[in-house]
């Protein structure tokens, strides 16, 4: 199982990678001890988006399908969680049922949409356009659900104002009060989930499944001739990636106890693409690190001006495409490797995959 973590499809297979990894992990785990509660809650909020970025990295970087629809699944799961949590009440345990329902909704939506696109052989650009229109349809639909007739059970959708006051995630705990996941508890929940998802994705990507989806991205026809049912692999990738976007949606809704159609629409849909393109879509670690850095930087800028942040986001995307098409984090990694590469040529033989694969993914 552990050799899968260090496979050819992911960067960072040597001790040089794992030592800092453990250091970063320790810093992340100790962070709440040194920061005040507000900052920790804020950090938890930032980290909720990372799942969406990793899902997009899987679908786009590894699967070769550029999905604009990440916020579609984000919205479906976010609203799904809201509706379920309001209807079940906030009692301990039921919120995790709501979480499960929300993730299933996102996965089911991905399966249906994915079926139509993948079995219809909607490739390349068209994939992006269909997922984008799905996203805009959802935002458009949610935006006009202001009237009282738009309700599911006791949950009102409230149009542009969005849903509010659903219970945050909580579980039964010692004593009488349940453990509510907000602040520090939410932070640890999110960090734990990120660790699990990240390591899980690494193992998946280096397993047979991961190698096949990379083969499909490189040359679908060849993969098909080798006897793989390309469509099933693509659909599975798409569903997993979309469910991760759904997980982001649930955590976001639980974090702020609100969700609005604005988190589904066009500017929101641009965000995951910017994070992943900037970081480097070819590698899951690059996406994780880069997305966090971008989110963190923009959190700081947004405090001053929302519009300026979006302006900068656009500039960053443009700059990435023109200057470093494979992403800045991967660019930095390669520069570092070139510096130290000469000393350990033998151990680096697996390394070029992510970068060479990048070149071809663009073609």
């Amino acid at each position: 199982m552990f050799q899968l973590i260090n496979g050819p499809q992911t960067l960072g297979a040597t001790r040089v990678f794992w030592l800092p990894f453990i250091a970063v992990l320790a810093a992340v785990l100790l962070y709440p001890a040194f920061a005040d509660g507000y900052d920790v809650g804020n950090m938890a909020y930032l980290l909720t988006w990372v799942f969406m970025a990793m899902g997009l990295c899987l679908v786009w970087g590894y699967g070769g399908m550029l999905s604009f629809g990440q916020t579609f699944f984000f919205g479906i799961a976010g609203y799904g969680y809201g509706v379920a949590a309001v209807n079940f009440g906030g009692d301990a345990g039921t919120t995790f049922l709501a979480l499960a329902i929300a993730l299933c909704l996102a996965a089911a939506a991905a399966a249906v949409l994915g079926y139509f696109m993948i079995w219809g052989r909607v490739g390349g650009v068209f994939f992006g356009i269909v997922t984008l229109s799905a996203t805009l349809v959802l935002a458009f639909f949610l935006g006009q659900t202001a009237g009282p007739e738009w309700h599911i059970g006791s949950a009102r959708l409230n149009g542009f104002n969005g849903m509010k006051d659903m219970a945050p995630l909580n579980i039964p705990w010692f004593g009488d009060d349940p453990l509510v996941f907000d602040g520090i508890a939410l932070y640890y929940l999110v960090v734990g989930l990120i660790l699990a998802v990240y390591l899980g994705l690494r193992m998946m990507l280096n397993s047979r499944f991961g190698n096949v989806i990379v083969a499909v991205r490189e040359d679908p026809q060849r993969a098909e001739l080798l006897g793989y049912d390309v469509r099933k692999y693509q659909l599975a990738t798409f569903v997993i990636g979309s469910t991760l976007a759904g997980l982001s949606g649930v955590l976001y809704t639980s974090w702020g106890q609100f969700i609005t159609p604005a988190s589904v629409g066009l500017p929101a849909a641009a965000m995951p693409i910017v994070w992943v393109a900037f970081s480097g879509r070819g590698d899951i670690t690059a996406t994780l690190v880069g997305s966090f850095l971008v989110l963190w930087a923009f959190q700081t800028i947004t405090v001053y001006s929302q519009q300026a942040a979006l302006l900068l986001m656009g500039a960053m995307l443009l700059c990435t495409v023109m200057v470093a098409p494979q992403g800045f984090v991967i660019g930095v990694v390669q520069a570092v490797r070139r510096l130290f590469g000469r000393r350990r040529p033998s151990k680096e033989q697996a390394a070029p995959t992510a970068s060479t694969v990048q070149e071809e993914a663009r073609a």
Partner: protein
Amino acid sequence: MFAEIFSFFYQFADVFAFLILSAAGLAIVFGMMGVINMAHGEFIMCGAYVTVGLVHAGFPLPLAQLCGTLAAGLIGVAVEWSLVRKLYKRPLDSLLATWGLSLIVTQGMLLVFGSTLTGVGTPEGSFVVGDYTFSVYRMVLFAAAVAVLGGIYFIFMRTRFGVHARATMQNASIAQATGVRVGRVYALSFGIGAALAGLCGALYAPTMTLIPTMGAAFLVEAFVTVVVGGANVLLGTAPAGILLAVIRTGLNGWGGQIVGQIGMLLAVIVVIRILPEGVSGWLARKTR
């Protein structure tokens, strides 16, 4: 009875004009050139803003619309020259770059001009059929959509530039070898596409609220029409426009605007499942 039929046709014409005018520019840039232009909506916005700005400055509406079209076209040539030119072999990157451009323009406009611009009001004029009253301007839009289709046909099938353009899109290196100035053809084609987007914005400027994000309203309609139309612009865009307009008009009449909008996009997903190459691919196979 005649009035009802005309009313349906009127609504159909309205939707058809909107789809065709949104899509015409994109059909050239995306359908022919293969550049995924996510900034298409911003060219539309540019046409609309220039038009409204000039009307406020005292220009007559048609002249302002012409200027709006030209302004979008010129900006289109500049964008092609500075950005898109480098991305012809990387279609997905052209998508990202133009999307970045779109974000910059939208947010920049928001910062510079604020959230809304005072509109100019739809030109008056209406006519009566049976018990119903119809706006003349909507018919003007329909006529403009048909004229745009005719214009594209004329430019690309009946002029020297059109021959060069089609040759370049087919195979740029061979076209270049035979003496076509490929760079200029690309820039001009992109410019025409942008100008058509600007025309769309100019024509719709009097009918809608002008906000910096207005381009998004057109973008999806445009892409959907071009995607359903398929690769061949001349054969695909018009039939796709008709097909989608019929679906949408029918659904509008049955369940209102929202059902129409959502139903049309769902229909698109089904159409793509059945006709992966779009209407033009299907027509090409039928007529072969």
